[in-house]
Symmetry: C2
Subunit: 334 residues, 2 copies
């Protein structure tokens, strides 16, 4: 009877308490969560970062991760991109009636492991169950709180002409890994999601250069969309070099085959940093010593030309404008 | 073309930015949200309360409220039940492809109005769109942050024998209002959800008696389940009097007709307070002067009998055990 999630598990009554005890409380157990009041309570002071994201990725298990790992990494990374040290996370699940409890346990275990890797604590949560056919397996919404160290001012509005644009590694891995799993595609070289918590990388970068201007993780919409957001927010131009952008051969081949441009494919374990020119070398060195940044490289420069626009020197030497993602290329990638 | 939400509105690209600008940013506009970085940033210090809830109510519009009002009230109330002053909220939406933009605008407007009523600010959010048939209209997950004033220690673990049990008003209104809307039931006296932000009521109560022991809003599972949770957490017995529990005549009639027990029906604008006996009168007086507590009344007492159990003296004078909700009575009520 208890091998699938039933509507009663979302009732708030005895079945809910049983499911929570067996899955969430068993995995996430910590003194703040274990109080089991309506709110988690902890002491905090300073400049606080607060963020939320819903995760609706399809399928929920994919090479290199699952929806649970993604939910933790996504929230940790959004906090880290403001320069914050991520501390406390919430997790709210919307589960489709009939979802296997064994899969739920796998996902919850994966969330706890990822939270431990990232050094964050899941302190509060919620579980709702909807009728069969009213959701697609499982949706997770996480929110997170972090503290921004004194003297750090990182924002998409801070880029200035002359700054260097750094990417922490190869692009396009996550989107292609999820798509290949969804469509049952096989490649000669397996592709894996880059899904990872980037807070240790950011901490290393800030230590090397506290004057980093912008950090952002190029998730939905990919590198191209994220750079466009920064160009618009900072009222600058951004010029990148196509040949400098790292892309795995397998991802490049898959993109060519499927008609995707890796510039627009989602990443879940990469970041873009915009740094003053004289800080670029020290930031790069720090990044390359972290396991999530060993392929970090400079891909471009902030300019005072083409304000609000991203331009790219292509591998053929031509220059073209790189727009924000216009339609929908890969739905439900995160 | 733009009268319905399309998959592209969840792409993270241009369509997402357009939808966010037209709906969320237009309604929620405030200096923290308007930075439009990956996290909201603000200063805070002290004992922090942090909570989250997903809302999957069906239908999304019902007498007395809608899913947006519910999402704000639910999160504000969870914070208030820990004694916190609610401050900042996040909102993450999972929208089914094809959902009318006009309905989204109505819900967003309702959220902003409720947030203003409650004195909280929506500072960050997320929007995902899933394929038609992969969600049911719209799900909202909100998270919230509040600050607990010095000297306040409110928890479901704090009830002690001799304490008085207070309910802030009539029970069962929300569940029956949603059910009647869902099933197209008409009653001679219209029933309305009690959905309301209770933070001003809690502030008035704390002012009257800073030594309140427990506060909890009896949502899913109703009054009976919530009292059972407190009895278990505090390791006490709770004894209530059926004739003391306020129930609207229309709700009582509807429950009799439909075979529901109002003790188990969800409320979204009511709270249970457990207070030391010598504080009961001053708390009651404070509650009755607030518009959300004018029917507040004492319904029972905490005892050292039947530890972990709730007992009730029925209207016929018998005594019976009131269990936690066992199965699922009214799915998707919040």
């Amino acid at each position: 009877m208890d091998d699938i999630v039933r509507l009663g598990h979302g009732s708030g009554g005895k079945l809910s308490h049983d499911l929570i005890a067996k899955t969430f409380a068993a995995s996430f157990s910590n003194p703040i969560l274990n109080r089991m009041d309506d709110s988690a309570i902890f002491d905090l002071s300073g400049r606080i970062a607060f963020t939320t994201d819903s995760f609706v990725v399809n399928p929920i298990f994919f090479p290199g991760g699952d929806i649970g790992k993604l939910a933790i990494c996504g929230t940790v990374n959004d906090l880290a991109m403001s320069g914050a040290r991520p501390l406390y996370l919430s997790t709210a699940m919307i589960i489709e009636e009939g979802f296997p409890v064994s899969d739920l346990t796998k996902i919850v275990t994966s969330m706890q492991k990822t939270a431990e890797d990232a050094g964050v604590v899941i302190v509060t949560g919620d579980t709702k169950v909807v009728n069969k056919g009213c959701a697609d397996n499982l949706f997770i919404t996480s929110a997170g709180i972090g503290v921004i160290p004194d003297g750090i001012d990182i924002s998409g509005s801070n880029a200035r002409p002359g700054d260097k644009v750094i990417v922490s590694g190869t692009i396009g891995d996550h989107g292609i890994a999820v798509l290949s799993q969804r469509e049952g595609l096989k490649f000669s070289v397996p592709v894996e999601s880059d899904c990872a918590p980037l807070n240790s990388l950011v901490a290393d970068m800030i230590k090397a250069a506290p004057n980093i201007r912008c950090l952002r993780d190029p998730t939905r919409g990919g590198l191209a969309t994220t750079l466009n957001e920064i160009a618009a927010q900072s009222k600058v131009g951004i010029h990148i070099e196509e040949t400098a952008i790292p892309v795995h051969d397998a991802i490049r081949a898959a993109c060519e085959l499927l008609g995707f441009d890796p510039l627009y494919v989602a990443n879940e374990g990469k970041l873009i940093a915009i740094v003053p020119p004289d800080a670029a070398e020290s930031v790069l060195n720090a990044m390359r010593q972290n396991k999530y940044g060993h392929r970090a490289t400079i891909i471009g420069t902030v300019t005072d030309q083409h304000i609000g626009r991203v331009t790219m020197k292509t591998s053929l030497g031509a220059s073209r404008i790189i727009d924000m993602l216009a339609g929908e290329m890969l739905p439900r990638i995160c």
